[in-house]
């Protein structure tokens, strides 16, 4: 399978036309340029009179890490994204499972519901939630923010989990488990979840990436009371561009590291359970 795929890929590559190579190169350049420039800008001493920076320094990184909210905002961002992942997992997986096995009629309704967060502007979502919950114990708390970013990031967890669930015969597997004496919960934990693990991992990655970089909802619901990393970054764009660039690079790096960690957990979780049949 893999062999065949690589060989067709190689074959396709030998037939690439010059204009295709140029187009792809331009695309890659276009995508990488901002990241690369941000990185250079974060270590450049002075870069306004020359094409390349006049010198290199680690000064901005030192200043960035010394910023008063550096570690607390980083911690807040991590808490926010990881708890959102947890909430999504606990709510989305059983829902998708239940709908697939017991209420297949509701699948299309759920599919449409899960597109809605894309249709609602985040500003509207934030203001609506603040209006509704103001005055209740939940008003303007980090818990409300978790709820808000959960709604906002819901499709990113739902899609991969739902696709993975559709690729297995969840109903028959459930019935097989039940006939062997397992309860629905036991079937879900021991049979269903291991078989949709790849979907859960992709969902978690997408939710993490979305929430870790989330700005609007945090700003509008909690403002300065709960400073997350993106908030700090935006603050510094007004103070010092180089330090803001350093923050961006740190943010990329952390997001990458966490993504790798989630992927590693995914690989480990699949180690005992070869996923070949559900992978394609």
């Amino acid at each position: 399978m893999t062999n065949r795929r690589t060989s067709t890929f190689k074959k396709a590559r030998t037939h690439l036309q010059l204009w295709q190579v140029v187009l792809i190169a331009l695309f890659i350049f276009y995508m990488l340029l901002p990241i690369f420039s941000t990185y250079i800008f974060s270590i450049a001493t002075r870069w306004d009179r020359t094409i390349l920076p006049e010198g290199i320094t680690s000064e901005f990184y030192q200043e960035a890490t010394k910023a008063s909210y550096f570690s607390s905002s980083l911690r807040n961002s991590l808490i926010l994204s990881l708890s959102t992942i947890l909430v999504s997992l606990v709510i989305i997986i059983p829902t998708v499972y239940w709908v697939n096995v017991r209420l297949p009629q509701a699948k299309s309704i759920l599919d449409i519901l899960m597109i809605l967060p894309f249709g609602i502007p985040t500003v509207v979502l934030a203001l609506a939630l603040v209006q509704v919950y103001n005055g209740t114990p939940l008003g303007r708390t980090p818990q409300l923010l978790i709820g808000a970013v959960f709604i906002y990031s819901m499709p990113f967890m739902y899609r991969p989990v739902s696709n993975a669930m559709r690729s297995i015969d969840a109903l028959t597997l459930t019935e097989a488990g039940q006939s062997l004496g397992a309860s629905t919960l036991q079937v879900m934990i021991q049979v269903i979840i291991p078989n949709i693990f790849s979907g859960i991992i992709s969902g978690s990655l997408l939710v993490f990436a979305t929430v870790f970089a989330e700005f609007t909802l945090t700003k509008l619901i909690l403002g300065a009371r709960f400073k997350t990393f993106p908030l700090l970054l935006v603050e510094y764009t007004r103070i010092n561009g180089n330090i803001a660039a350093a923050f961006s690079v740190i943010s990329f790096t952390i997001a990458w590291l966490i993504s790798l960690l989630i992927l590693w957990i995914g690989k480990k979780g699949q180690g005992s359970s070869t996923q070949a049949p559900t992978a394609h």
Binding site: E175, S179, A276
Partner: protein, 354 residues
């Protein structure tokens, strides 16, 4: 008292009646097949025994216990599915051990039982493999082993061979029957394949449109079908529609068919005469002895089936099929005139409701 009893079972899905007034007693240790075309309610009935569907009416009793409303995981009933339904994330050993683990069986006992059932399905060397590394036939044998490991009170098989190749199908059905008789486990086997049902069952339940058509041994089902549906669904039967025209005569499209005594029918009643193709003798000259029915016809089709050759013979506005053996097939060619003869005993007469 039978071991597994189904009483007055009704089940509808919306306006569609899936199972209608189903009554059946299954003796302990027997293999009973539910046979019928798709949509006849056989799978629905099986799923009600398993507990995956609830009957709208009626009761199901197993070993003197009412199990109608008991949830599937409490019933002690093993099930094998058409799609194998092995857990892809577990290897063969873990799959088989799953049910025992749910029952909190001690570890050593689990090991022993897994080895035992693996031995039974003759797949000992696959214990460490994952389902996707096995062929369809092997997967289904593991699924059977998994269902048997927990020593269920009843084994349910839902079209277990339908997804397999013809050769594997025949081998595996023999295997299923061997294991079933060795363990003397009460088994319900759902299939749409009559050959399968006839070859492995103690009893066959023929169903159509949610109604039991006949319950009997495979021989009874084949030799004395209770309804026209059974006669035509099991094997092939030539049908001559007509009216009763005498003590043992039926008039059909200008043919007069001599049958056994028609004491159950009134004169002029609409009936159908059913004749199995293998009970028709084909000759290329008019037979001298007229000890029954002899009808002339023209050979229209010749289909070679291996052991027998099936002829389609045009007789008096209708097509009659007759099976002949290899030895006699050499004498018959297309468009040839032949004489079909069958004894009155070969005729099964049934009333036709308007």
């Amino acid at each position: 008292m039978a071991y597994l009893e189904l009483r007055n079972i009704h089940k509808s899905f919306g306006n569609v009646t899936a199972v209608n007034n189903f009554n059946l007693d299954i003796e302990k240790g027997k293999l009973v097949s539910f046979l019928g075309p798709s949509g006849c309610g056989k799978t629905t009935t099986l799923r009600m025994i398993a507990g995956f569907e609830q009957p709208d009416e009626g009761t199901i009793r197993l070993g003197n216990q009412d199990i109608t409303v008991i949830s599937p995981n409490q019933r002690d009933i093993g099930m094998v599915f058409q799609a194998y339904a092995l857990f892809p994330n577990m290897n063969v050993r873990q799959n088989i051990a799953f049910g025992l683990k749910m029952k909190k069986t001690p570890k050593a006992e689990i090991e022993k039982r897994v080895d035992e059932v693996l031995e039974m399905v003759r797949l000992k060397d696959t214990a460490k493999r994952f389902p996707h590394q096995l062929s369809g036939g092997q997967q289904q044998r593991i699924a059977l082993a998994r269902a048997l490991a927990v020593r269920p009170r009843v084994l349910l098989l839902d079209e277990p061979l339908s997804a397999l190749d013809a050769e594997v199908r025949v081998a595996l059905r023999g295997e299923i029957r061997r294991i079933q008789s060795d363990l003397a486990i009460t088994t319900v086997y759902v299939t749409h394949d009559q050959e399968e049902a006839l070859s492995i069952s103690d009893q066959v339940v023929v169903m159509n449109n949610g109604i039991i058509q006949q319950v009997g041994t495979p021989e009874e089902i084949y030799r004395s079908p209770a309804t026209r549906f059974v006669a035509t669904f099991i094997g092939t039967a030539n049908q001559f529609f007509g009216n009763v025209a005498g003590e043992c005569k039926v008039q059909s499209n200008g043919l007069t068919i001599t049958t056994r005594k028609l004491s159950d029918f009134s004169s002029g009643q609409k009936v159908v005469v059913l004749v199995r193709p293998e009970l028709i003798i084909v000759s290329n000259a008019q037979p001298d002895t007229n000890s029954g029915n002899t009808i002339p016809g023209m050979v229209e089709t010749i289909t070679f089936h291996g052991a027998v050759t099936r002829l389609g013979v045009h007789v008096n506005q209708q097509r009659v099929v007759a099976d002949i053996t290899m030895t006699s097939s050499g004498y018959i060619s297309l468009n040839q005139k032949v004489w079909l003869s069958f004894k009155p005993d070969a005729c099964k007469v049934m009333a036709v409701d308007e």
